[in-house]
């Protein structure tokens, strides 16, 4: 079952509120998700709505990706952060 646009917008706003996301980051997500389609919308809500930390991490991650563009050095820095976050996440889960 996919998600209607109305339902998606409601849930997205609720996520933004819960995460206390700044306006510029909300706009960033709105822009990126505008044409993504119902399937991606549903996946987005499923993945992030229950995990505020993950959402905040990837909000920052997305912003950095946009700034990095095709800069390989910056992208590698982003990837390094991803690995570190992932390791921490797994460590937390296994504790």
């Amino acid at each position: 079952m996919l998600i209607s646009d109305e339902e998606f917008q409601q849930k997205l706003e609720a996520m933004f509120e819960k995460a206390e996301l700044p306006e510029e980051d909300r706009k960033l997500w709105h822009d990126r998700l505008a044409d993504a389609g119902e399937y991606i919308h549903k996946m987005f809500i499923d993945v992030f709505s229950k995990d505020r930390d993950l959402f905040l991490f990837f909000t920052t991650n997305m912003r950095k990706r946009m700034v990095a563009g095709g800069d390989r050095v910056k992208l590698e820095e982003i990837a390094e952060e991803e690995r570190a976050y992932f390791s921490g996440l797994m460590k937390k889960d296994t504790e």
Binding site: R65, G69, R83, F86
Partner: protein, 409 residues
Amino acid sequence: MLEGPSYNSEKRPAHGDPDDVGLTLPPFSGRFHGRPVYTSEGIPLSAREAPRFAERPDGTDAYPDDEKVPIESGLDGLYAYIRDSFPQDEAKKMLLELGEIVHTCEIASGEVVGKDVSGTEQSVGEDLPVRAADFVEASQERLRNFLEKHPKLTRYFKALLLVVSLAPSVAAKPETSFASDREMKRIYDDGMEEYGRRTAQFGVSRILGGQERFHDQVLDSERREWDLTERGNQARRDFIVNAYRFVDELNALENEYRLEFDRVMTRPFQNEAARSSAMTDINRRYLIKVIELENRLKDLSSRVDSITSLSVFGPLTGGRIRQFAALKEKMMRLALERSGWTRAKLEDALKKSGIEIPKNALDENEESTPVETRSYRNRSQKDGKAAETRGAKKEAAPDSDAQFLNSLF
């Protein structure tokens, strides 16, 4: 009723027991339906380090020295976690299974194409869309199974893939015509409602199979041509969506044509001349319709680099384009042979209908036929001949028809 690629849950890839999608699956054989599968670089998949994220034959870790490590953090992290967190035997099975899922998704998403032993790309066959659907279905089932077993591994993995697929820096390169997953989704959302459920499943495969390519594209300097890419993708998107619709329209047209033809064949007429006249009328009418349809498709294709470039969108779309070409040839041949028109008369009829006259459409498209459709020509010509034979038996067409046609062109 639209006739798309069948999606038969009974059909499964040759490897693996469909009822056993767990950790007991054998490693990917590198063969698909008995044929060896090659990577886009022409390397046999079976010869590829399989799984390339596992240890090398000498027991050393294959990943640390891999130059792609820094940009493959998603899968790399997942693989590393599995490797480090489970007993060796279990980890190996999990890695093999995950590797096979990714390979399967690569194939389903068109990343891997079939090539013969000489390295020449094979014609994939009109039935490939069905096979691709099988792949997608199988990979979905196995992916679901895998994720259910290891839910804590998937949260980060999914989130990363989502962000990567949404990031603006993953623009498609015009040369490779590889649309981002976001755009693939839009293609489907806009134009493929009738394939809804399968579409959603295909989307997941695209995300999985395409992740490495997303990263590669991030690092590609031509990614900077964002506007150009966007325009190119828009044109390709239009073309693909319409190509799918055109095939459906052509299918509907063919069914309609056959119904009308059968009706004329079975309806009583005052004499055979009247029946023949009615049949000719039908043939002429449908000939014009087919040409009109082809013109619409060509008009759209002129906005993209070439029809052949569309094959990179994957076998599903490539198959549709080929299906259109084969159907069109069959329809045109049937209708033309039975229309009793000279070329001049046909051109006149097209003009009167306001339809542009395709330069080569009436002489088998030798020059204008896309390269990728040529492998189907023999088949479609055979189809045409078979249909002609059937038609001849059924219709008892005047003997002069064939001579007349030959004399035209």
